[in-house]
Structures are given as structure tokens and as C-alpha cells.
Amino acid sequence: MTHTIELPIRNVSCEACEKVIGRILRKFSHAKIESVSADAQTLTFTCEEKDTDTIKAKLREYNYLDEEKDSRPHFSYIAHQVIANTPGFEAEHQLLTHTLGLAGLLFLTLGLSYMAWFSQNELFIKIWPVLALVPLGIALNAGSLIHVRHLRHHFNCTNGMMAGMTIGMMSGFMSGAILGATNGMFVGSIIGMAIGMSASAYAVRKAGIMGILEGLMAGLMAGTMGAMLSVMMLSDNLMAFLYLLFGACTLILGGMSYFIVKEIGPIQDERKNVGFIPLAIISVLVLLIFLALIVWGPKSSLAWGSL
């Protein structure tokens, strides 16, 4: 079966280069050049699927294959490898299934909590859309945090700063916004800040002081900002804002995981296994603390009354 692929190339500057590439491909049946772009440094060609690796090896031998770019695959490629549990991406696949499983478990816990404690509470009915975001936020942040933790030893300064900032900012923003909406500015800011700062420091610990400092600053800023925005929107479209915010945070956390795999590669070290039980216990505890704060925390009724 033939397929068409695009490869990043280098050292291709003239007609002679294209001719040499053409000669390489002519040695394989059904292989032909579709296009060569000297400006974009890309080569698109059609060949039999079984010949792809040999052709790449030949291009490598002639120093035309851009190894650095070729080893940094696109988002769709990585996503497919992770979902399909391709060899080399087993740890990421496990992390993804654990995150989804964790989200399910946390939603179940939320449902049970409702039946046990909140079903008689009129205020709960008013704020249930906010509560539904809590399990999602915890599962997303836990999955991202573990991904960063597994690869933090391989971070350089820039990777560490980016990962620390993303974890600090997303966890701080999400928790600050939820608690700000249900408990007001003070509680939202303090807890959002504490969660953002501690999550980032834990995620990038041992990855360099710059990553830790960046995470601490991001956690501080996002924790207070999330709470502030929620309080400012109590008389506006707060619920729509919270859902948009969580959607944006989900995209950013997914982007961060892609960035890590692209920059560092899949999890390869001896700590491949991601234990679900400790992750589940800690996450359920965090959820229960959040629920307790939302229901019984200071200023909660004031915030709820304005929703």
C-alpha cells in the first residue's frame, strides 16, 4: 500500500539536490517525489509503506534528513501514539487512562457526596454547575503534574520554567476561580495561591531553581487572579466564564504535555509506572476538602447568594 508523507529536510538548495533525492527514490518501486521545497525545507513523496524507513535511512545517509525536526513529531502523531498505546508511549497511555479513570472516580465521589450530605441543601442545587468543575480540574491537574514529575530530571532551564509556570498558573487559576466564586475573594485568593504555588514547586522540584521560582510566581498570580475574576463576575456571566476558563486551562495543560513530549520525548526511565491508588486517594481527599470549603467555608453563603 502506498502513502504520501512529508519530511523535514536540510542541505537542499538547488536542482542537483532534487535530482539526487529523485535518484534515491527511483530505487524503490512506486516511490516518487510529490514536491521539494527549498524554502520550507520539506520533501513530500509517495512510496510503499514498507519502504518508508529505508528511504528515510537513505536520505539520512546523504545528509538530507533533518534529524532534529524529524524527531519532533506533530501533535496528532503523538496523540495517536498515546491513545493507541504504541510501544514507547506506554507510560503516557497509562497516565491518560489513569487521568480519565480519576475523573470518573471523582465524579462518582461528588455524586455520593451529594446523596450523603448535600441533597437537602437548597444552596447546593444553585451551585451544582460549579461543583461539577471541581473533579475535572483535579483530574486534569493531577495528570499534568504527574507527567511533569516523571520527566523533570531531563528539563533544561526553559523546559523547567515553562512546566513550572503552566502547572502553577493552571492549578492556581482553577482553584482560585472556583473558591472565589463560592467563598469570596479572601478564601479564593489564599487557597488558590497556596495550591498554585505548592503544586508547581512539587511538580518541578529538582528541575532547577528557575522553574520553581517561575512556578511560585505563576501560582501566586493565578490564585489571586482567578478568585478576583470570579468575584468580579458574580453579578455577570460567572458560570459561562468558569466553563470557558476550564476549557482554556484544559487546552493549555494538554499543550504542555505535548510540549514536554516534543522537547524531551516519552517517559523512558525506570519510574514508568504511574500508581493509580495513591493518586486516587490524594485526589479524593482534595475533592472532599474542596467540597467542604465550598459548602461550609467562610463567606460561602454570601457568594452563593449572588450567583
Binding site: N11, V12, C14, E15, A16, K19, R23, N63
Partner: protein, 65 residues
Amino acid sequence: MKKTLKIKDMHCSSCEILLKEAIEETGTKVVSTNHTKGEIVVDMKDEKEMVPVKKAIEKEGYSVA
């Protein structure tokens, strides 16, 4: 005998690869190529081999100075 050919417009490694393969297809051995100097050193048994070598070079769009 070794002979150095001066090639016009040979400016990159691809030109070297292209010309080396084209010359060797005629049966003449290429000893070395140098695109910065625009030179190809070939090992010929006699002068008669120059005719197909020149033809092969010109077929690829280059010329021997």
C-alpha cells in the same frame, strides 16, 4: 592514470553525488570530488574514457572546463 577534471557550476555536495554517480555509471572510477574547488579526480585506463565521462557530465547539466 589519475586525471583532474575542472567542472563548471559544481557548487554543493549534491552536485558531487550526482556527478560521481553519473561518471561511475560509465565505468570510470571517481577518486575524489571537491565542489569548493570545482574539481573531480578520476582514475582512467586511457584517454578514450574521457568521451563517455564528458557526455555523462554534460547530460547532468554541467560542463568540463
